[in-house]
Symmetry: C2
Subunit: 455 residues, 2 copies
């Protein structure tokens, strides 16, 4: 590692202040799934952008507003677009949190709070990186645009339209997104793609009321059995999605892609230990990396119907629902897959309702993008080691509007620890990774500015 | 219909008082599944037996006490044993009740309350029938024993042992149980058997916490998928239980049994309308009566895991459970079936826990029992029409200890309307059927006494 720079010293000196500002942000719930606290969260994010010297404003939508800020220093210089989201996942199940989700708490070097890693701690690191640069060195070395969304956790329903309508506003050379975690081993990564996601709900209904199971069993339909039988037709025991027509939309992986995905495997044993498992599900012909990011997955995120209290109740329930998400790979299209789900359900379980809960398309940036090298250098400078290059990640982010609509490369530079527990109780971010994120964010400005053909 | 008897006039004169006493009983929750209000309910039932002139007492158990009362008039006369249960089902989902479950309310000629039909209104009719007899005619015409249980709704775990330990106390010539409803057409029935029931829960666990579905889907086990895949192996699309070895325990029905079961079909359209369905599930080779009472059924009474709130949450849940009941036919044995379930689960989904929630064995009394005729006469006298004779019913009652352990016939004489909504919101009993039950109960005393070889 090289000697500390002025920015390193600045970040060290502002440690507590930066944490205080993160905590203030995390205390405002902004749960897009419930439409709770969105306006307050957006206003707070707006204040953060303005505090960093950006010319910022809210862009209202029929849902949560976008928060946009920019610092345009020189049209001849490259423009970096930073994307993040200020909304957070619901916090339930609340009883599994060891400290309240909206009262950030530090334990064992980690900040515990809903949204600390996904995504407030990460985009705040970028904002504080901009501040650090300005406070240490004055004018930014390139043009910067920051776009913060308020509906990422419900599938970014308004992102594609907003980006398409704002091509001029958002015009940039490269987009950087800090979301998700570094490798299980602790090593930083650069991600070149994301899977898409299609979220939907299956709703089955039976009689108008719950029935006595002895009197009506096998006579009146049981909506839970209906869903069980339907779902069993939608994925096989090896984890392969078997929705009618789905298989043909999944492009086989090239040898090169398989090799890159196989290299993503990381420190499996540690990752498993962190989630309390001794082994993972196996697929005879697929590596872990392939299953994580190269193939679609089909998750039932919730299934509820009938009695759930103590002991037993001999009741035949009248309704049940399953919440599902399917992760998509290039070049699947969410609309096509949703149409397939509808046709499959109509054929195998007519009467079951399919409710769409939004989608994100998959996205891919070439591994040889000209912006890969400066981003690598920025990370290596701060970490002291080279980051891993990952062709894709298992999760989903709205990169598609940037790569497809704006036509620019989009690089994922996650700042959080791999065991961040995003979307789960006890979401957390290591304190050191928050501060390191600020330093990487500042280094990115310098490296991207320096590498540009126009600099 | 014949001219009103002294007892008919008595029941008419005491209409309001009898309703008041029923309402007072119904206001005491006694939910065995939650262990709530059991002692108060037992004490109240004890008072009712004593009020009818029975020599009554509580028989404590490690669970809810039995309430036992007797009036022994003459050892040379026959002894009638009446069984009922003072515990009730849980009342949830509460929001679907149109009036509070423990505040009995009369609407459109029906009493709405949890437990009014299942079973307090029915055994109270017997108690009031005894009172009516004594008040009108003095000494009872035969020996009467009344046994009220407090754990029927959780599978009568202590009934077999209690009856086996109390053979002398409970010695009788015939047992009558008033539970369940009359035929869908409104016609009274006599039931000669019941299905058994085995209640159990399947519990699947994955990681130590909920996970991000994009990062861990198809890698960490999904307990909901585990249950879906397991359950799909346990019953086929035609409603036939496919648990390994189960099929061999189901005796094929004789032509005679099939004919008797086919005659049970009743007024299907009306029954379906009452539960908001336009058609029932079909099985190509089985009549409705067969499916209701002649074959086993496998009901998932509840399945819960993962996110259940509004919208979507891309989470991979860490646990899920399914509550199940399997109805058993003669001569299946619940212990054998539970062992089969355990073996099946161990083979198809190792790691899934099987928790027993109790069982009742099936029971059968011959259609040509010598007590069939007097019971028919008693019902016909009050109704003015002959009751239907049903070889079995779909539900379960602890008749097995009487038919097997005591070795006496056990006849089901339900007083409730078919659409009683037992085990469901808005459980109800027609006011007229409550009062008619009291008159049938009194008539039974007379007919059984008169028909006995020793009378």
């Amino acid at each position: 590692m090289t000697a500390p720079t002025d920015i390193d010293r600045y970040v060290e000196a502002h440690r507590q202040e930066h944490l205080d500002r993160l905590f203030a942000y995390l205390r405002i719930p902004g749960i897009s799934a419930h439409g709770a606290g969105m306006a307050e969260s957006a206003e707070h994010a707006l204040g953060l952008l303005r505090g960093a010297g950006l010319n910022a404003r809210l862009c209202p939508t029929v849902g949560a507003p976008f928060v946009y800020g920019e610092a345009l220093v020189d049209p001849a210089r490259p423009t970096l677009l930073i994307y993040g989201h200020y909304d957070v996942q619901p916090a339930d199940p609340l009883d599994l949190w060891h400290s309240p989700p909206f009262e950030p708490t530090i334990r064992n070097g980690r900040i515990y709070a809903r949204g600390v890693a996904d995504n407030r701690g990460q985009h705040l690191a970028h904002i504080l990186g901009l501040e650090a640069w300005r406070d240490c060195r004055g004018t930014l070395p390139l043009n910067v645009k920051v776009l913060l969304e308020g509906e990422e956790e419900v599938g970014s329903p308004r992102m594609p339209g907003f980006v398409a309508d704002s091509r001029d506003l958002l015009r940039a050379d490269v987009c950087v997104i800090s979301d998700g975690g570094v490798d299980d081993s602790g090593r930083s990564v650069i991600r070149f793609g994301v899977r898409g996601v299609l979220s939907f709900e299956l709703r089955a209904r039976g009689a108008a009321r719950d029935l006595h199971s002895g009197h009506w069993g096998e006579i009146a339909p049981n909506p839970i059995w209906t869903l069980v039988r339907l779902l069993a037709t939608m994925k096989n025991g090896a984890g392969v999605v078997t929705i009618d027509g789905f298989g043909e939309t999944v492009a086989p992986l090239s040898a090169e892609e398989r090799a890159a995905l196989a290299a993503m495997e990381g420190a499996q044993d540690e990752a498993l230990r962190s989630i309390g498992l001794s082994e993972m599900q196996q697929h005879p012909a697929r590596t872990l990396g392939e299953r994580r990011a190269g193939w679609p997955s089909f998750t039932i995120s919730g299934l509820h119907g009938g009695y759930g209290g103590p002991g037993s109740k001999t009741v035949l329930p009248c309704e049940a629902f399953a919440k599902c998400d399917i992760r998509l790979v290039p070049d699947q299209r969410a609309d096509d897959v949703l149409a397939m789900v509808r046709r499959h359900v109509a054929r195998h379980a007519p009467g079951v309702e399919v409710i769409s809960h939004g989608a994100m398309e998959p996205s891919k940036t070439p591994l040889d993008s000209p912006y890969a090298a400066p981003v690598r250098r920025a990370i290596a400078r701060v970490d002291g080691t080279e980051p891993m290059l990952l062709p894709a990640m298992g999760g989903s982010l709205p990169e598609y509007p940037f790569t497809h609509t704006l036509g620019i490369p989009c690089l994922g530079v996650p700042f959080a620890n791999a065991d961040e527990a995003n979307h789960a109780p006890n979401e957390n971010m290591e304190v050191k990774r928050f501060h390191r994120g600020i330093r990487i964010a500042a280094a990115l400005l310098e490296e991207i500015a320096a590498s540009s053909p126009s600099s």
